[in-house]
Symmetry: C2
Subunit: 155 residues, 2 copies
């Protein structure tokens, strides 16, 4: 059945840039599956988290905070508003803007998603000990910071 399912070439199996992609795929699969089971998506969590931490904001600000594209912000706010997790209201002081604010149901949903995502992280890092997890996350953080500047052309 798995006659030719054999190993990938060793060059590929050990290449760090490729290993990172393999883990990212697993992480995304775990996260997407867990969020979908709660009728949510990744962008929902990002927007709810930004609103909870920074308070009500325009859609443009939410895009800058979360790195989500302006077009995708529109769709995501639509989905969250349908579910009554955020409210969209015109800014009285600048009528170009929508002020998006989190509802009590949205805050509650955010805490549910926090719990779900904590479980996913635990499953993702399952083979590592507590100390190894600490090191691994430290390394990830330093890599992310190092490459942060070069990440996006922005325009």
């Amino acid at each position: 059945m798995e006659s030719t399912e054999g190993q990938a070439p060793s060059r590929l199996r050990t290449l760090p840039s490729r290993l990172i992609n393999v883990i990212a795929l697993s992480a995304n699969r775990l996260v997407d599956r867990a969020l979908a089971a709660a009728d949510s998506r990744r962008y929902h969590y990002a927007l709810l988290a930004a609103l909870e931490e920074f308070g009500a904001a325009s859609q443009a600000d939410l895009g800058r905070r979360t790195g989500i594209d302006r077009s995708d912000i529109v769709a995501t706010v639509n989905e969250l508003a349908e579910r009554m997790l955020v409210e969209r209201s015109p800014d009285p002081s600048d009528r170009r803007r929508n002020i998006v604010s989190i509802t009590p149901a949205g805050s509650q949903r955010l805490r549910t998603l926090d719990r779900i995502l904590a479980e996913v992280q635990d499953e993702l890092l399952a083979p590592l000990s507590a100390e190894e997890r600490r090191q691994f996350v430290d390394h990830l953080t330093r890599l992310a910071e190092y490459h942060a500047g070069t990440a996006r052309p922005r325009h």
Copy 2:
């Protein structure tokens, strides 16, 4: 200019599954850019590596070895054949098959790509010491192995 370029929410900044995605994006950007400068793509390297390590193979086998979809194998072999890096010839013992083999120019190109990718790995892991790199890659490898089984539905 960067008035609202502020920090992402702390929930997002510290989430391991998200950090991994951020690094994967940086890695992909570095790899794609370096390979493109050598008129190559990721799939080129994967196929050349598989042919070098396992010898001539049918396109179906190459797909199973590398995890590349059958449709994408066709296009990639076309590109490599155009560049004279592989040869496609009918299998005399099973005329459904194309036997794909690497040319001397292909082996030489593979070594060039090896060198290019080694430089990319070095840039990718730049902020980590030699010992930290060893640990980091060890952690990645263990995570990849742990999640390997659950990775692909296959059908």
